[in-house]
């Protein structure tokens, strides 16, 4: 009798917990569905439009469905030398910026996290603060500085894609240095000491111990540097104008939109293809991508 009552109580209470839990689950799934629709509508709509002909786009049929799918937009863009130039410029800029960023920020982070020297703590904080200075504050003085360099030395910087390789690191290095400092600092001090006793110099300590151990951080920083370079819009908008010097975002916005004639099929195709590299990286390295995102505020 006693056990029977207890069992009944157990079931009853479990039942009520279960009902609460079920209701919470229902609403969770409901909101998740709503927001997934909200969040994915634009990219899906890009895909839908990119598969349409111009005729279908301007037809009165439902814009949310493709009645006669075609890859014509893709073929056209991928054979257009202008678009491929944008793509090449973007890729070159992004890869070079990643290389420069890593070459500068990893040694700096190593020195700042391990080789205390006069002013190193201040410098570490200062690096983080410069990350908070936005590009929108700097593009006008930079523009003027580059124009001035031309006047003074005759070296043309403006309207050259490689100028972006010089400028973008200012956007990537502070943050990458900051998160690498975080990763390096989490390596136990004894590990360096063991390596030091084993006979490693600073360079070997960095390349043979720190980099392999902090590899997740290096990957996260690389992803960050790449995606920032790939997505940057203001600097190329301000500093480059000739069609053969443009990178993807600016190229699509300025050349595919010609006056009032919007060729939306091609614009959407171009934008989708342009969004592809970061999306692919994200799909394959999601955990590193997210680690890099959250590192800024949760580490250090």
């Amino acid at each position: 009798m006693v056990t029977g009552t207890r069992a009944a109580v157990g079931i009853a209470s479990r039942g009520s917990i279960g009902r609460d839990r079920r209701r919470a689950l229902f609403w969770s799934y409901f909101f998740l569905a709503v927001f997934v629709i909200f969040f994915l509508t634009p990219p899906v709509y890009m895909l839908i439009t990119s598969l349409k002909t111009s005729a279908e786009i301007s037809a009165a049929t439902s814009p949310w469905w493709v009645f006669s799918p075609t890859l014509a937009n893709y073929v056209e863009l991928l054979t257009s030398s202008t678009y491929l130039t944008f793509f090449r410029n973007s890729a070159l800029v992004a890869l070079l910026v990643v290389a420069i960023t890593m070459l500068i920020s990893i040694p700096a982070a190593f020195a700042l996290s391990r080789m205390r020297f006069w002013g190193s703590a201040t410098l570490a904080t200062g690096v983080f603060l410069t990350y908070l200075i936005p590009d929108t504050l700097l593009f006008i003085p930079l523009f003027k500085i580059f124009a001035f360099v031309r006047e003074a030395t005759g070296i043309e910087l403006l309207d050259r894609w490689w100028l972006l390789v010089i400028v973008y690191p200012t956007l990537t290095i502070p943050f990458c240095t900051w998160i690498m400092i975080g990763y390096f600092s989490s390596i136990p001090k004894e590990l360096d000491e063991a390596a030091l006793i084993d006979g490693a110099g600073y360079f070997q300590l960095l390349t043979r111990i720190f980099l392999p151990v902090a590899l997740p951080g290096v990957i996260a920083a690389t992803i960050f540097a790449f995606t920032v370079s790939w997505a940057q819009f203001l600097y190329p908008m301000a500093f480059t104008t000739s069609a053969d010097q443009l990178v993807l975002p600016v190229g699509i916005v300025t050349t595919l939109i010609k006056g009032d004639v919007f060729n939306w099929g091609q614009i959407m195709t171009g934008a989708l293809l342009g969004a592809l590299p970061p999306l692919v990286i994200y799909a394959f390295l999601m955990d590193y991508y997210i680690a890099g995102l959250t590192a800024g505020a949760t580490k250090g």
Partner: protein
């Protein structure tokens, strides 16, 4: 293999003096243990020998060479850390061979040396594993293996066993001793565990507050501590210390502990203690030398009766606690002696082993 000498070594961190002038001479092949309470400067001393900390003042000599300005890698030492500090991205083999690879030793030789060391430690099976796949004891062995492979002049250990559970600690302690007997490398070992110190060391260095209290064999420290600190620190349970008056009695000297307990000073110590007659001192006697009443086997055994307060059976022996002059005193009696809490009990003290300590200087007289 080498001799290590410290001369007036001082270490200052900004405002704290961590090590205040240490003189120490460690002989070739010797196993020396630095022991002392937390924060007494053991690790700092060891790290200065390793070259991981700069020396504020003084001199460190390894194998006849002053190494003050020699970076760690050129001192030809190996160190085992408390958290092992194994390189997480390398296999056991790579961990053990890292130092040799950095020195560009021939591949073949690296292999034989790693295998030799692995054989000594019984970790031949683990060579391809990563540190993450090892148990605490195995990591400990690998860390030691890394040191052995290098075949350095000096081994340095910084509390290598304190991350292990109690049972494994005892096991690894034996292991370390075995390895030392095999490779006979000069070893400096830091611990705060006095049992570890006593069992491992050829000589123990007791440190306190940045200075050396006493250097000696485990036996010397146990039987002839030089200071109150050493007397209290070495031995478990700790030596009983009770304030007393050294008084002159009809038959020589007596130790007045409280009104109903006056212990006679053994005749052979009277000359030594005579100058302190009339002073108030600390009386020290280890629990082991207070036992249940038995047939006297020596001339200086003394029976007295106490009121037992707490009984702690330990199996073979029982610790009994009672109060003398308001101080808790512990004695170690046979389990079958029938000690009961709250009862009176007669104990027999072996006064040959007593110590008298000066209050102010903490010196053992």
């Amino acid at each position: 293999m080498a001799r290590v000498t410290l001369r007036k070594v001082v270490k200052r961190y900004d405002e704290t003096l961590a090590v205040r002038g240490i003189d120490l001479d460690i002989l070739d092949k010797e196993f020396v243990v630095l022991v002392g309470p937390s924060g007494c400067g053991k690790s700092t001393t060891l790290r200065m020998i390793a070259g991981l900390e700069d020396i504020t003042d003084g001199e460190i000599i390894i194998d006849g060479e002053t190494v003050n300005d020699v970076p760690p890698k050129d001192r030809d030492i190996a160190m085992v850390f408390q958290n092992y500090a194994l390189y997480p991205h390398m296999t056991v083999y790579e961990n053990m061979s890292f130092g040799l690879r950095l020195r560009r030793a021939p591949k073949e030789e690296i292999r034989t040396r790693v295998q030799d060391a692995a054989a000594i430690l019984g970790i031949g099976e683990l060579l391809e594993r990563k540190p993450k796949q090892l148990s605490g004891g195995q990591r400990q062995r690998v860390a030691m293996g890394r040191a052995i492979v290098r075949d350095p002049k000096v081994f340095l250990f910084d509390e290598p066993l304190s991350n292990l559970d109690a049972k494994l600690r005892v096991q690894m302690r034996t292991e370390i001793k075995r390895v030392h007997q095999k490779v006979r490398t000069t070893t400096i070992y830091v611990t705060h565990d006095q049992i570890e110190a006593m069992t491992l060391a050829d000589r123990v260095v007791v440190m306190n507050g940045g200075v050396i209290e006493q250097v000696g064999t485990p036996d010397e420290l146990y039987h002839a501590p030089a200071t109150r600190f050493v007397a209290e620190f070495i031995g478990s349970p700790a030596m009983n210390l009770v304030p007393c008056h050294l008084v002159e009695t009809s038959s020589g000297l007596g130790l007045h502990l409280d009104d109903n307990l006056v212990l006679p000073v053994p005749a052979d110590r009277i000359r030594r203690y005579q100058p302190y007659a009339g002073k108030s001192l600390l009386f020290g006697l280890r629990p082991e030398y207070m036992v249940e009443r038995r047939v006297h086997t020596g001339p200086h055994q003394f029976d007295f009766e106490v009121l037992l307060e707490v009984i702690e059976p330990m199996g073979m022996d029982t610790f009994v606690h009672f109060l003398v002059n308001g101080m808790d005193v512990c004695a170690r009696v046979n389990a079958s002696a029938g000690a009961r809490a709250g009862q009176r009990f007669t104990l027999c003290a072996d006064l040959d082993h007593l110590h008298l300590i000066e209050h102010d200087s903490g010196k053992v007289l």
